[in-house]
Symmetry: C2
Subunit: 341 residues, 2 copies
């Protein structure tokens, strides 16, 4: 092999090997979650025998799985014992309130995984191989799973979103949460402003998850349900603020503009729309997570995308909004785009 | 989210997200190879329209795929045009003699992929969910695909292996290449020593690939075939050197010792055995590739492993070898273990 690139670093195929085998990393994390490995590691003492016993699994299998997790940065190993990294303690141990392990339920759904088995065809055709409108086909049951299992990823974003939307406002207000899913964003607004009244819009089976979350948060008296499609139901209102979280990316630009016009028409003078999105830089290849999210939209929708701020601003402008501002959420891959009606 | 870990770095779930979605990276590389994206990028000019045209694919799909490859370090993007990284130029462009893309044929085989769909069960049981002996079931056709498609990964190792085995020896000698596969290692010995005579041992359909490679290398007059299983056939000999490349990892330690005894019995006094392996450090979690290889052995075999040097040395010692020395191959994940009979 050649020993040097132009930069002086050794030229090796390591990155090619990594990508060839990357699927193993997802399978290993999924297996570790199913086998409750991260709880076992958190409880200690971290020796192989006790982890295997907790997982009701063979020592050979447990040892190779745990070593593999260490290689992938999801555990540490010292003196033959496994222990948490700061990340795995916070985000993978079920004993942690920030545990994200339930996300695997949603991300492993055949609906989301199968298009990757036919990715060359997806790229050829430029759209999902799923039937109809893909994941946004009406009443697609995956959104119930989304509402149930992706909440831990969204929960840390709710506080910042509530603060940006409310700007300290504590008076009576009405908020519409479009495609509310788990409902956490609208619920947070209701928590931060005891005079806010929130309407959650989503398909009915999804709303049942949201209303249960509203009940847990103690805001169910100020939480209404508006079942149906955002494109079909009458929004009512007018509202002081309308939330559009994790939604626009499923659709093409014209569809987004149409929806944003309908949104703007339901906002009071001086009110605002708050859009939560993965927003890549204009180069579309950074930061990694927002940029990579376009692949999920390619495989699961007909014409969705990870839109840049420029594109989102243009959509909002075409729909009549003004003063459109991006608020990246620190230490998260998400951005809130605020627009005045 | 908490803002700091003990080390002062921000605590983010990035590594968890990466592992949750890592399967997408393998699918993207596979699709890009199938669509001949890397050749298109190498030919230039690297604009989206010309790459999509070459790939006979939609611009939406091609753009999202290429951006995703950039995120994963497999392409670069500047001023809206895609171009090779040093690694993708060397190892993914079919115009490069070092191109590794054919490896995807082997690594995508259902036999190798399907156990990962049931990894929790594999870990519970401590062995592959494949029937019988897994990938080393007699006459498993995957080894023909291995011989045909993994040669580019092995080719850069052949030169160093030949030099270490021959140590400048140019006189008449006999070499047995056990589980020779593509045959490149024995063929290289024959190329480096014009008086070496090589016998390739493997299942017959695999040997047909090896003999064709021997023909291409012009050494077919000094290349014999010994069809069958290394555990069953008589080796003949005695040999000056016996090669055991990418083979011991499929079996448990006792089986390896049994085989090594048979190997040693077929080596002339003063001769040697040369084993090529992924050899992790004693911690079993470094370096990344040799350590991670244990996962492939867990999923595809009954009792194989990525053995440490200590384990390999013990096996060789039990089989009667002495002066056992590890030779890591620079800029590769492989190590050659030399042992004197």
């Amino acid at each position: 092999m050649p020993s040097d690139t132009g930069s002086g670093a050794a030229l090796t195929p390591t990155i090619v090997f990594e990508n060839l085998q990357a699927h193993q990393r997802t399978a290993a994390l999924k297996a570790a979650i199913e086998l409750d490995i991260f709880r076992a590691v958190g409880q200690g003492p971290g020796d192989l025998a006790s982890i295997a016993s907790h997982a009701k699994a063979s020592e050979r299998g447990t040892r190779i799985l745990c070593d593999f997790l260490v290689v992938n940065g999801l555990l540490e190993k010292a003196d033959g014992r496994y222990r948490h990294t700061p990340s795995s303690a916070a985000f993978l141990d079920p004993a942690s309130p920030m545990c994200l392990a339930s996300m695997m339920h949603f991300l492993s759904l055949p609906t989301l995984r199968e298009p990757f088995e036919h990715l060359a065809d997806v790229v050829r055709n430029g759209r999902t191989v799923l039937p109809g409108e893909g994941t946004v086909e009406p009443d697609n049951p995956i959104w119930v799973t989304f509402a149930q299992s992706m909440a831990p990823m969204m929960a840390p974003l709710a506080g910042p979103l509530g603060q940006i939307v409310l700007q300290g406002e504590t008076g009576p207000m009405r908020v519409l949460d479009i495609a509310c899913g788990h409902g956490l964003f609208g619920i947070e607004v209701a928590k931060q402003n005891p005079q806010a009244h929130v309407t959650g819009l989503d398909w009915l089976p999804v709303l049942r998850v949201a209303i249960e979350n509203a009940r847990k948060a103690g805001v169910q008296d100020r939480y209404d349900m508006l079942p149906g499609s955002a494109f079909d139901v009458q929004f009512g209102g007018p509202y002081d603020a309308i939330l559009l979280t994790n939604f626009l990316h499923h659709f093409d630009i014209d569809t987004c503009v149409t929806l944003l016009k309908k949104v703007r028409a339901s906002i009071k003078p001086g009110g605002c729309a708050a859009t939560l999105e993965f927003v890549p830089n204009e180069d579309r290849v950074s930061p990694p997570m927002p940029a990579a999210f376009a692949m999920t939209m390619l495989t699961s929708t007909v014409a969705g995308d990870a839109y840049t701020f420029k594109e989102l601003a243009q959509m909002h402008t075409k729909a009549g909004f003004h003063d459109i501002v991006a608020h990246p959420i620190p230490q998260s891959p998400h951005t809130i785009v605020m627009a005045q009606a």
